[in-house]
C-alpha cells in the first residue's frame, strides 16, 4: 500500500469519509502523518470559526466594559472574569453537562452535545472573553487627540466609532490579538481530550496522535508529528495576521508603523 493510497483512504477520515476502520497493525509513518493531518481539519475548523464569530462578541463586550452605564459594564466585566479566570478544561466540563440537561428537557438542543457545535460554542465564548480584554485595553489607550479630532469634525455616535475608534482600537490590539489566535488554535486540542466524546473515531489531530500512541505504545513518533503540524499552523497564523497588520497600518508614515511584535500580552 503506497502512501498515496493511504492518503486517499484516510485523508478525510476525521470527517467520516474513506476507510471505516482505522489501521490496526503494521503502522507506518505515512499512516500516522496522514491521519493526524486529517484530524487537523477539526482543529482548523474549531479555531477559525470560533475566532471569526468570537471577534464580534469581543468587540461588543469590550465596548460594554468601557461603557459608563453599569448595566452594560457589569455583565461584560463578569463575562470576561469568569471565562478568563477558569481553566478551559473546567469550562468544557460544565458546558457538556449543561448541554446534556438542556437536551434532556428540549430535544431541539440535541446537536449541542456533539463536539462540532457544543465545543465550538465554548471556544467561541472563551476566545470572545480573552479578545474582549485585549480590545478593552486597546480602547483605553486610544490617543485622546484622535477622539477630539473626530469631535472637531462633528462626528459622533456610530459614525465616530466606525471611522475612528474601531480602526484605531484594532490597530493597537492587533499584536496581542495575534497571540490570542495562536493560543485559540492550541486550545482546540482540548476538545476531544477532556470535553466531548469522539464519535465513530472521528477526532482532531490530538485524538489520532493518542490513538497511535496507544496502539504502538510509542509516544515518541505521533506526538512530534502533531507538534510539527501545529508549528506549521502557527506559522500560517502569524503570516496571515502579519499581512492584516500591514493593511491596518498602511496609512501611517513608514517609521511609525507598528511592527508586529509577538509580545505575549494575553494568552490562555
Amino acid at each position: 500500500m503506497t502512501c498515496w493510497d493511504i492518503l486517499s483512504d484516510y485523508g478525510l477520515r476525521s470527517l467520516g469519509f474513506g476507510e471505516r476502520l482505522l489501521p490496526r497493525d503494521n503502522f507506518t509513518i505515512c499512516q500516522q502523518v496522514v491521519l493526524i493531518g486529517s484530524g487537523m481539519i477539526w482543529n482548523i475548523y474549531f479555531g477559525l470559526l470560533a475566532l471569526v464569530s468570537g471577534f464580534f462578541l469581543a468587540v461588543a463586550t469590550a465596548v460594554g466594559k468601557s461603557h459608563h452605564n453599569p448595566m452594560f459594564r457589569k455583565p461584560a466585566e463578569w463575562f470576561i472574569f469568569v471565562f478568563r479566570g477558569s481553566p478551559l478544561f473546567i469550562q468544557f466540563f460544565f458546558a457538556y453537562f449543561t448541554f446534556q440537561s438542556l437536551k434532556g428537557a428540549y430535544p431541539i438542543f440535541t446537536p449541542l452535545t456533539s463536539a462540532w457545535l457544543g465545543a465550538l460554542i465554548v471556544l467561541f465564548l472563551n476566545t470572545a472573553a480573552y479578545s474582549a480584554e485585549i480590545f478593552y485595553g486597546a480602547l483605553m489607550s486610544i490617543p485622546k487627540g484622535d477622539i477630539e479630532a473626530a469631535d472637531a469634525y462633528g462626528m459622533s455616535g456610530w459614525k465616530r466609532f466606525r471611522r475612528i475608534t474601531f480602526p484605531t482600537m484594532l490597530r493597537l490590539a492587533w499584536p496581542a490579538y495575534t497571540n490570542e489566535a495562536i493560543f485559540l488554535f492550541h486550545a482546540t486540542t482540548l476538545v476531544f481530550m477532556s470535553g466531548f466524546p469522539a464519535r465513530s473515531q472521528m477526532g482532531d489531530a490530538l485524538y489520532y496522535a493518542s490513538y497511535f500512541a496507544d496502539k504502538t505504545f510509542n509516544p515518541f513518533i505521533p506526538y512530534p508529528i502533531l507538534a510539527g503540524f501545529f508549528i506549521l499552523l502557527t506559522l500560517t497564523v502569524i503570516g496571515t495576521f502579519g499581512l492584516i497588520n500591514k493593511q491596518l497600518n498602511r496609512h501611517l508614515p513608514q517609521t511609525n508603523r507598528a511592527k508586529i511584535r509577538l509580545r505575549l500580552n494575553l494568552i490562555r
Partner: protein, 297 residues
C-alpha cells in the same frame, strides 16, 4: 486510616451535617486537600524557574554568537508553536529517559547490554531515577520535579518571548549613553538593560502567571495526582459495595468547587499584581506613571 470524628464509625446511620463532615474528612478527601498544596507548591517553584529559563532564552536570543542566538530563538519559536498538551504527553518520559541515560553512562561504563531492548528502556539498576529501592515519597518527589521542569521549559519559552520584547522596549538611548560612559557590553546589559526592562515586562509576565494557573489541570497528564484527578475520582458514582459513603454522579459539585477555587485564585492574583504594577510604575516615565503623578497632585 482512622476517622477524624469519633461518630464516623458507622456512616450509614448518619444524616445531614454529620454525614457530610465524616464524608469530607475521609482519607480520600485528604488526598484532594493535599493536592491543592501540591498545585500551589508547583506554581511557587515553577514561576521563578520559568522566569530564569525565560531570561536565559531571551539573553541567548540577543547573543552575538550565532549558534547561541539560534538556540535561544529556536527554543522560543518551537516550544511556543506546539500546544502544551502535546508537549506534556511525551516530553516527561523523554526527559526521564534522558536523565537515566546520562546517569547510566556515568555510573555503569561496563554495562554491556543495550539500553533499548525492543520496546524496553533498560538502564543499570544504579542509574535508575529514583532507585528501585527508594520509598514511594521519593518517586513522587521525583515525578513532581519532572513536572516542574516540564512546566518551566514550556512557560520559560513564553517568558523568554515577553522578556525579549521588554528588552527591546528599553529606550535605545539608554544603552547608547551607557556605551558613551565607557561601559562594556556586559556591563551595559546587567547595569542598564536588565534593571529597566522589568516595568515593560510585568504586564506580559502577569498574564503568563494567570495562564500558568489555568494550565495546572494538565498536571495529571504528567503523572501528578492533581485536584482535577481527585475531583473526577471523588465525584464519580460510588456504589455501596466499595465504599461506606455511596453517592451518585457528584462530579458537578466537585468541579463547581474547582471553579470557585480557580476564580478566587485569579482574583487574588489580579489584586496582588495590580499592587506590584503600581509600585513599579511609580516615578517611571510611562503613561501610567504620568497618570499616577496627576492623580496624586
Amino acid at each position: 486510616m482512622a476517622a477524624i470524628f469519633s461518630f464516623c464509625s458507622d456512616p450509614a446511620s448518619l444524616e445531614g451535617i454529620e454525614w457530610l463532615s465524616c464524608y469530607l474528612t475521609t482519607g480520600k478527601h485528604l488526598g484532594i486537600y493535599w493536592s491543592i498544596g501540591t498545585v500551589l507548591l508547583l506554581l511557587a517553584i515553577t514561576a521563578p524557574v520559568a522566569l530564569f529559563f525565560g531570561f536565559a532564552g531571551a539573553s541567548a536570543a540577543r547573543s552575538r554568537i550565532l549558534p547561541i542566538a539560534w538556540f535561544g530563538k529556536g527554543y522560543t519559536a518551537i516550544v511556543r508553536g506546539v500546544p502544551d498538551i502535546a508537549f506534556f504527553l511525551f516530553f516527561v518520559i523523554a526527559l526521564d529517559q534522558f536523565f537515566e541515560w546520562i546517569r547510566h553512562e556515568v555510573k555503569c561504563p561496563d554495562w554491556d547490554m543495550p539500553i533499548r531492548q525492543g520496546n524496553d528502556f533498560v538502564v543499570c539498576p544504579e542509574a535508575k531515577l529514583p532507585l528501585g529501592t527508594a520509598p514511594q515519597w521519593v518517586h513522587e518527589t521525583y515525578g513532581f520535579s519532572l513536572a516542574v521542569l516540564t512546566f518551566a521549559i514550556v512557560f520559560g519559552a513564553f517568558a523568554a518571548n515577553v522578556l525579549s520584547g521588554a528588552m527591546r522596549a528599553v529606550p535605545h538611548a539608554q544603552l547608547e549613553t551607557a556605551e558613551a560612559y565607557g561601559m562594556t557590553q556586559r556591563q551595559t546589559f546587567w547595569r542598564v538593560l536588565v534593571p529597566q526592562m522589568w516595568v515593560y515586562a510585568l504586564p506580559g509576565l502577569s498574564n503568563l502567571w494567570m495562564v500558568l494557573i489555568k494550565a495546572t489541570p494538565l498536571l495529571f497528564l504528567l503523572g501528578v495526582e492533581d485536584i482535577v484527578y481527585w475531583a473526577r475520582e471523588l465525584g464519580a458514582t460510588k456504589t455501596a459495595k466499595f465504599t461506606d459513603y455511596p453517592h451518585g454522579d457528584w462530579r458537578m459539585w466537585y468541579f463547581l468547587a474547582l471553579l470557585v477555587f480557580y476564580l478566587g485564585f485569579t482574583k487574588v492574583s489580579e489584586v496582588v499584581l495590580d499592587k506590584i504594577m503600581s509600585r513599579l510604575t511609580r516615578g517611571q516615565a510611562t503613561a501610567a506613571g504620568e497618570a499616577q503623578r496627576k492623580a496624586a497632585a
